[in-house]
Symmetry: C2
Subunit: 398 residues, 2 copies
């Protein structure tokens, strides 16, 4: 039997992969499991998107243009212009989810063996895409004690080698909920300029910024227009994760041309998803206001409830719908498994994502978990109570 590749063993394990079977067993036992582990919102997809799908009136479901339908890209460009991002339809490639946008950015900008610096904890799948592209992730640690702010620029500079080609940020951040300020991004832009790096920014949670804070897109940074690639997605914005539609946006023509070669190799992004994505651009403002109010309410309630638990610390997230939470535990992998395998409170338990999976540095995040507040407040209240009771009896409490 031939030997398979060693790429799989190079990949960071998904934080929840090992937990899934335990969750399934718990459910089979009739236990109610609150899923705080995933970013699959329970919010309804906009009616305009659902209607567009149901009114699909072509006889053949054809390939689209490899860069995505022109009509869609034009509307996307207009929507970006409305929020001050100056791009046209030729600076946008419609991708198969934000995932493919990240892949295209890495493949187009980075050679095998090149390094990308990413503040940790980070979205684990960056590691998967880096492994696929043969790119090396160099983590720079941000900490819960300062709410996961951008690490000092001096720390970035310590990590820069001749192989360093890019910095990747996620803003607002998954998994931390941190929102980088304009000032932090300007600091980043200086080192990007100084060391001639690319700056990849995953801005899929752009609309989810709270407490009056405004999102500042990397596309608005002066002097590094040619260095910047923005990754975007319709998944969270319109609660339509399953359509698999995202965008890669850049003013750099060379990057677009190279990315288009990869786009053409895979022929086209999903046509039906583009129908939903394009229609979603007509979503009325009330939809977003309602969703926004719902998340604010969930965040305030749930993060508040967690911080009331003895020895639990959860920074108030300024964006997205996640938070990294510090717990009085020995090992978050063990704790999360124990919750599913050995604990119930009134026949309920919770599924959490161990934060160790979001750190690339070995040993970090062992007393942290990521929560996604994508359930309604009643469910979140039950989930918080489960966590509180669980921590009282968890054998590995410290």
């Amino acid at each position: 039997m031939p030997k398979i590749s060693n790429r799989g063993s190079q990949m960071q394990a998904s934080p929840i992969r090992k937990l899934v079977p335990y969750a399934e067993v718990a459910k089979k036992k009739g236990i109610k499991v609150y899923h705080l582990n995933i970013g699959q919102p329970d919010i309804k997809t906009p009616q305009t998107a659902l209607d567009a799908i149901r009114n699909f009136n072509f006889d053949v479901i054809e390939y689209s243009h490899s860069a995505g339908n022109e009509s869609y890209r034009k509307k996307l460009a207009k929507s970006y212009q409305q929020i001050g991002i100056n791009v046209n339809e030729n600076e946008i490639i419609v991708t198969t989810g934000g995932s493919e946008a990240i892949q295209f950015a890495m493949l187009s900008c980075m050679n095998h063996g090149d390094e990308v610096i990413i503040p940790e904890p980070f979205y684990t799948n960056y590691n998967g895409f880096a492994t696929a592209a043969g790119v090396i992730v160099v983590p720079i640690t941000s900490t819960i004690d300062d709410g996961f702010a951008l690490p000092p620029i001096a720390e970035f500079e310590k990590l820069i080698t001749p192989k360093t080609k890019a910095i990747t940020i996620c803003n607002p951040n998954n998994p931390t909920g941190y929102l980088y300020s304009k000032e932090e991004l300007e600091q980043l832009s200086e080192i990007v300029k100084k060391h001639d790096l690319f700056l990849f920014a995953d801005e899929v949670y752009r609309e989810f910024c709270y407490d009056g804070e405004e999102h500042f897109s990397v596309m608005k940074l002066k002097n590094i227009e040619q260095n910047v690639v923005m990754m975007d997605s319709v998944s969270k914005r319109y609660s339509e994760c399953g359509v698999r539609i995202g965008t890669m946006v850049t003013k750099n023509k060379e990057i677009i041309e190279t990315a288009m070669k990869f786009a053409q190799a895979r022929l086209s992004p999903p046509s039906l998803g583009q129908v939903a994505g394009e229609a979603s651009l007509d979503t009325p403002q009330e939809y977003f206001t309602e969703v926004y109010d719902e998340y604010i309410s969930r965040r305030n309630f749930f993060i508040g409830a967690l911080n009331k638990i003895d020895k639990v610390m959860a920074p108030m997230p300024k964006g997205a719908f996640y938070s990294i939470v510090r717990l009085p535990i020995d090992d978050s992998d063990k704790f999360c498994q124990w919750l599913l395998e050995d604990f119930t409170y009134k026949n309920q338990t919770v599924m959490l994502a161990p934060a160790s999976g979001f750190y690339s540095t070995e040993g970090l995040g062992r007393d942290e978990v990521r929560v996604a507040y994508v359930l309604n407040n009643d469910e979140l209240a039950n989930a918080a109570k489960v966590i509180e009771e669980a921590l009282k009896v968890y054998p590995g409490r410290i």
Copy 2:
């Protein structure tokens, strides 16, 4: 400005990429362009698939399981079993088009720098996926003079090095229309076994086999079950290229486990496409009979018409809906551009794919083009006439 990666320049140019702007100009001039260059069939998508989309009745378009919906995989397994391919739902990963199945197979089985032998002319995008994975394509030349039969096994063995990890075939073949026989595949299986290689087989045209010839799947080869990965797609079978749904199928658990890591990184295949794909499995037999009869009629008519033209030679394809055609020309890239830029017959012209783009060996295919007979017979008659008239006056005729 930072330097982009050199991956793009390593990629073989798409055979038609440079031609697209010329086709657009021709159309703007009001010239009717017959597209023989692409595999986008004009056949209607099955009604059952279109109905399933229009009846989509969920409120949220959610991620699916990373391996694809279980219900779909179970139905797929059953449909494979019905054609003698013995697999279950855990041996199938639903992918974003056949494209992603090829990517997963390469990433899971091959390391950076490993070599894959592929009979040329081959589907150009294999080269794109190989470049993305850092895998090296080693071509083995098949020739039009023997109808693009499998090259002798001795020729394969000459190319095997310590870096050789896999052989990839497409059966029936795009771009040649050749159908590998059971005997040829058994020969291949011996060398796969002897040298402990993987065998990747792209079988997306499985149903398109003509003249009573039967398709023999690599999944039925004895003794190399652990070496085989089959790539499949709904695109051509149901004329629904835009749904972007394919499958990677293998009995090898290690490959499935590694591929699942890449599948989880990109979260899920398109949910709406899976709705169409699953419904398509209920397509009545009459649909296929009708499509099959249509392609037989097109093939017989069009390949016949081409062979009647002076100094034109087109092997009769035994499968798929392509043929490589030898023309009395100096350079197929120039000829195909000239057709769009400088030639019309009764205000019509044709767009062909220069065969040079399907060969990895420099200089091959310069007197060959690929045709896809995906138009109706009236259009094909006009297209053949255009080619005949064009060859009479083409300045580079030899």
